[in-house]
């Protein structure tokens, strides 16, 4: 019997994907990776961002000043909760993920294949595109040894499919920024974040249904903010914004728009198309984008979504973000845009002080 998507746990879902569809499952660490390639090989990527755990054993392997995305990811492995996964993929996101990759692959002795994906960092040069394509092909060859040959036609189909999904994600963002999507902050991200583990066969209908049922012509009420940072966690921040009538009208989150809102694809070669997607992604701290580019991107979003302010939701000790955030926050303030920087551990309950800061920020908006 199929359990409803709403009630099925991620574990049940993974098991069902394996038993019913014969899929292999890859545990993928943040952030950017070619999901089209994995899906074309009938491998379901399950992303590991914020497992609902407490750090217990991981502290023995990590410095105390590491981000909780990494410490909880390692905890998940150490607590033996990855037994259904067939392999791990570590994209080259930041030094912390690199270190994690090395701990898992070289020292833990967990006997699970580990794959690595290197992508070029900005500023992009003439060699960046060929390099990116060579990395895609290298990953493909590595995966083929474990999971069997990838047919070009399957890859093409998978690229087209992801392009369709991305278009619908973009539509959701557009409608939301225009105030024509009737949804709570919590509901929006809870749907969007299902992309982190659902197969397109399940995710795409969910998304289109959300899109259709949420369309509205009524004007946006209350204040709107743009959410930047790593990921929309803790979700209680979203709940609290909902409770005080503040709508997230757009985002610049690493786990969301920075990975999904790329430009349209025109190339028919699947590798070229994937490269096109990658190089048209919004600027990001983990891809080495210049700060001016990030600032202009955020300003453009603020204007188009008529956001009244910006909230940076930063994971404590996230190195790439902390390089940019002080400068971004300062520059935005100079432009007269109210800014709130919240620093939190993943899954950490909202303290009274954070609640106060969110409410005081909302009061400041008027």
């Amino acid at each position: 019997m199929h359990l409803d998507l709403e009630t099925r746990t991620r574990k049940d879902y993974i098991r069902e994907q394996k038993s019913l569809h014969g899929r292999k499952v890859m545990g993928v660490f943040p952030a950017q990776y070619p999901r089209e390639l994995l899906l074309a090989m009938n491998i379901l990527p399950v992303e590991i961002w914020d497992p609902p755990l407490r750090t217990r054993e991981a502290s023995a392997h990590l410095q105390s000043y590491i981000c909780s995305v990494v410490s909880l990811g390692l905890e998940l492995i150490l607590q033996g909760k990855c037994s259904d996964l067939d392999a791990f993929l570590f994209p080259h996101t930041c030094d912390s993920i690199q270190n994690l990759a090395s701990i898992v692959n070289d020292y833990l002795g967990i006997h699970k294949p580990c794959y690595f994906f290197y992508h070029p960092k900005a500023p992009y040069k003439r060699a960046s595109r060929p390099y990116y394509i060579s990395q895609l092909k290298e990953l493909k060859s590595g995966l083929e040894k474990q999971f069997g040959e990838l047919r070009e036609t399957d890859l093409k189909r998978s690229v087209d499919r992801w392009e369709e999904i991305r278009k619908d994600i973009s539509k959701c963002y557009l409608l939301r920024s225009e105030g024509r999507l009737n949804t709570s902050n919590r509901a929006f991200y809870s749907i969007l974040r299902r992309v982190e583990y659902l197969h397109p066969d399940d995710f795409h209908p969910l998304l289109t249904n959300f899109l259709q049922s949420g369309r509205t012509e009524t004007e946006r009420q209350g204040h709107g903010v743009l959410l930047s940072g790593v990921l929309p966690n803790p979700p209680e921040v979203l709940d609290h914004l909902d409770a005080i009538g503040v709508r997230v009208v757009d985002d610049d989150l690493l786990s969301c728009s920075r990975r999904f809102l790329s430009g349209p694809v025109s190339n028919s070669d699947p590798y070229e198309a994937m490269a096109e997607t990658y190089f048209s992604l919004p600027p990001c701290s983990t891809r080495g984008s210049a700060i001016e580019e990030r600032l202009n991107h955020i300003l453009k979003k603020i204007r188009s979504s008529r956001a009244d302010g910006v909230i940076f939701l930063i994971v404590k000790f996230c190195e790439p973000e902390f390089f940019d955030v002080p400068i971004l926050a300062d520059s935005l303030k100079k432009e007269g845009i109210p800014v709130l920087v919240l620093e939190n551990e993943i899954n950490q309950a909202l303290s009274g002080q954070i609640v106060t800061r969110i409410e005081a920020f909302a009061e400041m908006l008027g």
Binding site: K333, P338, Q353, I354, T356, R357, E359, A360, E363, M364
Partner: protein
């Protein structure tokens, strides 16, 4: 019915109430310990303040609650953050205020305020005890000097002990070493105050304000801290007669505004 209103500030250490009339005159105020039950503390503070004003609680037409325990005041008509309330209260008392420094028991805040009393930006130290009243409390216990006597002691100091650590735990061990080396008490206290001031001053710099500065919160009663802060910001600081009730005062102003 007369237009009396109450503002109530339920803080982590004390709960304060201010009763105001519709001409924005303060009729009475009260300060009680919050204890473990914020709702009871709020009732007690309101009852005491009402008694002092010669009123019954039923005479009050509107109640605004602020502070960490603002949600625990079921009678409140509205809840406003202490950040907005301290700003409104400070501008009411000192209209030249452009920056409010509130060093409270558990955290400290620096608020940039517009002429209309509205918050334009704020910074909060919510990570540790450094730069808060809690830091001073720990040190006063260590040195066996009553908290409210620390200000006068430090004013009399001729020298100043250097306390390099901002962390309460490490600073405590520095103080222990200073005591062991027979460093004069007043110089240690001045060093402790300097440590609090440096921490808060770093926050003030983020807001880049050149106008009037008002200090609120219990620590504003400490003359030693205020003197060092004035030295740091390079101008005189406004200190209310009752710096602890500024949050409740701001809440009362919000209550009047909403009427």
């Amino acid at each position: 019915m007369k237009g009396w209103v109450i503002g109530i500030d339920v803080g982590s250490l004390t709960t304060d109430a201010v009763i105001m009339d519709e001409d924005k005159r303060v009729l009475s105020f009260s300060i009680v310990d919050t204890g473990y039950n914020s709702t009871d503390a709020a009732r007690e503070a309101m009852t005491v303040a009402a008694g002092r004003a010669g009123l019954e609680l039923e005479d009050v037409s509107r109640l605004v609650a602020t502070g960490y325990g603002r949600a625990a005041v079921p009678e409140a008509n509205k809840r406003v953050t202490e950040i907005a309330c301290h700003a409104a209260g400070a501008v009411y008392l000192f209209p030249d205020t452009e920056m409010v420094i509130d060093i409270g028991g558990q955290d400290s805040k620096v608020i940039k305020v517009g002429k209309d009393g509205r918050v334009q930006d704020f910074v909060m130290n919510d990570k540790c005890a450094a730069g808060t009243g809690r830091f001073l409390e720990v040190m006063s216990a260590k040195l066996k000097i009553p908290l409210d006597g620390m200000g006068d002691i430090s004013i009399s100091a001729r020298g100043e002990a250097a306390i390099s650590s901002v962390c309460t735990v490490f600073a405590e061990s520095e103080v222990v070493s200073l005591v062991a080396r027979n460093c004069p008490k007043e110089e240690i206290v001045k060093g402790i105050h300097r440590s609090v001031v440096n921490r808060v001053w770093a926050m003030t710099r983020q807001l880049r304000v050149s106008g009037g500065v008002t200090m609120t919160g219990g620590v504003a009663k400490n003359r030693g801290v205020v003197a060092l802060m004035e030295e740091r910001v390079g101008r005189r600081i406004n200190v209310p007669d009752e710096p602890q009730i500024v949050g409740a005062l701001g809440a009362a102003l919000f209550a009047l505004r909403e009427k």
